[in-house]
Symmetry: C2
Subunit: 134 residues, 2 copies
C-alpha cells in the first residue's frame, strides 16, 4: 500500500468510527504519543488526548450525533507527517475538514482534526464566489 493510500485508509477509519459512534475505534484512530488537538465546528480548539477523547465521547454518545460520510479526500504526505483535506457529508449539511496524521509504530495516527461549515462539494472547475471571512 502506498503512503498516500495508507493515509487515506487511516482517514477513512476515522470517519467509520465517527459514523458508527464507535468510541473505542475512535480512540484507536488517534495518536497516543504525539500531542493531539481538535477543532470541532464552531468550537474552540481542544488540546491533549484526554480532552479530545472526552469531546468525542460526548459527541458519539449524544442523541444528536450525526451520520457522516467523507468525500473528495486528498492526502498530502510530507515525510512522517500527512494531512488530508476532505468534505464531510452529514444529514443536514456539509463541512470541510483538515485531518493531520503522524506515523506511530508503522501506522498513520491522527494528531489533529478541524472541521468547519462548507458549501456542497464543487464538481466542476467553475470559479466560486469570493469567500466571506466569517
Amino acid at each position: 500500500m502506498s503512503e498516500h493510500a495508507a493515509v487515506l485508509f487511516a482517514n477513512e477509519a476515522f470517519y467509520m468510527a465517527f459514523d458508527r459512534r464507535d468510541v473505542e475505534a475512535m480512540e484507536d484512530v488517534w495518536a497516543t504519543r504525539a500531542a493531539v488537538t481538535c477543532i470541532h465546528p464552531g468550537w474552540n480548539p481542544i488540546e491533549g488526548r484526554d480532552s479530545v477523547m472526552e469531546s468525542w465521547q460526548a459527541i458519539l454518545s449524544g442523541s444528536g450525533a450525526p451520520k457522516i460520510k467523507c468525500s473528495n479526500a486528498t492526502a498530502h504526505v510530507i515525510g512522517g507527517v500527512a494531512y488530508v483535506t476532505c468534505h464531510e457529508i452529514l444529514d443536514r449539511g456539509f463541512l470541510a475538514a483538515t485531518n493531520v496524521f503522524v506515523r506511530e509504530d508503522g501506522s498513520w495516527k491522527m494528531v489533529h482534526h478541524h472541521a468547519g461549515t462548507a458549501p456542497p462539494p464543487v464538481e466542476s472547475d467553475e470559479p466560486e464566489s469570493p469567500p466571506t471571512m466569517q
Copy 2:
C-alpha cells in the same frame, strides 16, 4: 531561535500580511515547491499555489477584507512539518484556524490554511458546552 518560535514567527508573518492586505508578503509566506491547499471559512478546499494565491488576491484586494489579529497560537513541530492552532480575531467575530508549515530552504513556509467560525477564545479551564456538528 527554537523551532517552535520560528514556526510561530512564520505564523505571525501570515497574519501580518493578511492584516496589511499585502499580497506580495502573502505570496512569500506560502511554500513554492510543496503542494499547497487552503480552506477559507465557508468555502470549499482550494488546491494548488496558483488557485490559493488567486483567492488571497481576491480577499486582500476586496473592499470587505477584514482587519485580523492572531491570538492563542500554539505550535506543534514534528520533524520538518509543523502545524499551528490559533484564534483569529476579526472586526466582526472570531475564527479558529489550523495552519500547516513545512521547511523550505531553511524557512518555515505555509502549505495549508483552514479557518472556520469559533466562539470567543476561552480563557479559563471551565468545560464548554457540547459542540454542534454544523
